[in-house]
């Protein structure tokens, strides 16, 4: 296990940074979750390219044909809308800004969220305020979709990766969610979301404050949404 002096120095610096809470090593599961999410979004956004190479004989037949070209369906993307949002979760004693990417086609929409979670009230249990990230993945249905508004309902999961406490601390919840978007402009909208945690891990409690008092078990967020297409 011999290490070069430079390597030792880098390692020592890394340990020092870790011990001071300045640098956290992302866990492999986080990397896998992000990669999977990006791959799914990419898959939905990519146009289908499985167009067969025409043979010489078929070319002639195609050119001679007067039937309508079915090509638009083949070249169409799998998604008919892609939305990006910046949002704010309304939490007591915590700040939670985040971004969301929504990719949909027709009635179905898949939403991905990434948020950043910090404490806004000091705690005797921790010196720092940074807690970690929230990742959300939702499958939504959009039964109401008009020019000026749309409403979606769906199910998904919220995963809290609490790097700020320890690199391996995670909490998760199974989450029904309602989303209403208002579109005063064609591409720019305002988003309202509400969710509740039906099932959740032991260390996560929505609707209970730090001092044990209870509150509404509904997490609201509002945001500004941009429609890419």
């Amino acid at each position: 296990m011999g290490a070069l002096p430079g390597e030792k120095q880098r390692e020592r610096a890394r340990h020092t940074a870790c011990s001071r809470g300045l640098m956290r090593r992302p866990s492999p599961s986080f990397c896998r979750a992000v990669t999977l999410a990006l791959a799914l979004v990419g898959l939905l956004c990519l146009p289908s390219v499985a167009r067969a190479e025409p043979t010489a004989g078929l070319d002639v037949a195609t050119e001679a044909s007067s039937e309508p070209d079915p090509a638009p369906a083949e070249g169409a993307p799998l998604a008919d809308r892609v939305l990006g949002s910046g949002q704010w979760f309304w939490l007591q004693g915590k700040a939670m800004p985040g971004v969301e990417l929504a990719v949909g086609r027709g009635l179905v929409e898949m939403d991905l969220e990434l948020s950043f979670l910090t404490l806004t009230e000091s705690s005797r249990d921790r010196d720092g305020s940074w807690l970690g990230n929230q990742l959300g993945l939702f499958l939504m249905l959009t039964p109401l979709r008009e020019r000026y508004f749309d409403v979606s309902i769906g199910l998904g999961a919220d995963l809290y990766l609490l790097w700020g406490i320890h690199s391996d601390v995670r909490e998760a919840a199974f989450t029904p969610r309602v989303v209403a978007r208002l579109w005063p402009l064609e591409r720019l909208g305002v988003t309202f979301m509400a969710r509740s945690y039906l099932l959740h891990s032991d260390g996560l409690d929505l609707g209970t404050a730090r001092d044990g008092s209870s509150g509404p078990p509904i997490l609201l967020s509002t945001g500004i949404t941009w429609r890419f297409f």
């Binding site: 309304w90 007591q92 915590k94 406490i165 391996d168 996560l204």
Partner: protein, 161 residues
Amino acid sequence: MRTLCRLALLVTLSAGCAPMTFSKEASLDFAAYPSLSFELGGLDGSARQSAYLASELREHSGFRSVIQATAQAFEPATAHLSVELSVQASGDDDLLVTLFTDDEEREELSYSASVSYRLRARDGRMIDTGGESVQDENTFNDAAEAALDALVLHYLRPYRL
């Protein structure tokens, strides 16, 4: 549309800012055992891993003080933790295969690690015992540190945030 707006307003007014709490209970009574001495043994318990464990326990555990046990040192700690660490490369039962593979081949290996631990009070009474294991790590050190992280997670300082 008007109904929708009323509904949104109603939900907003009724919910407002929601309280949400992250918490973890203590795995043992840290007030009764405020100081810890530990020794890391096993086939793969090197000085580097010992230093890492000491650093992580000091940073994250509920023990107020953490020291490495040595044969000469007087140990005033209220609890003593014995940790055994072992790391294995996937598909290789032979340690020499792991040691003499080049970097490119080593990248294809995955490593698993396990720790077993016993926590005893100063009077020798057993307080806590258990084990943790991790798999699919990229390097030997990643596997060792991930297993030690799992141990530290077990003794994480309780919080309610």
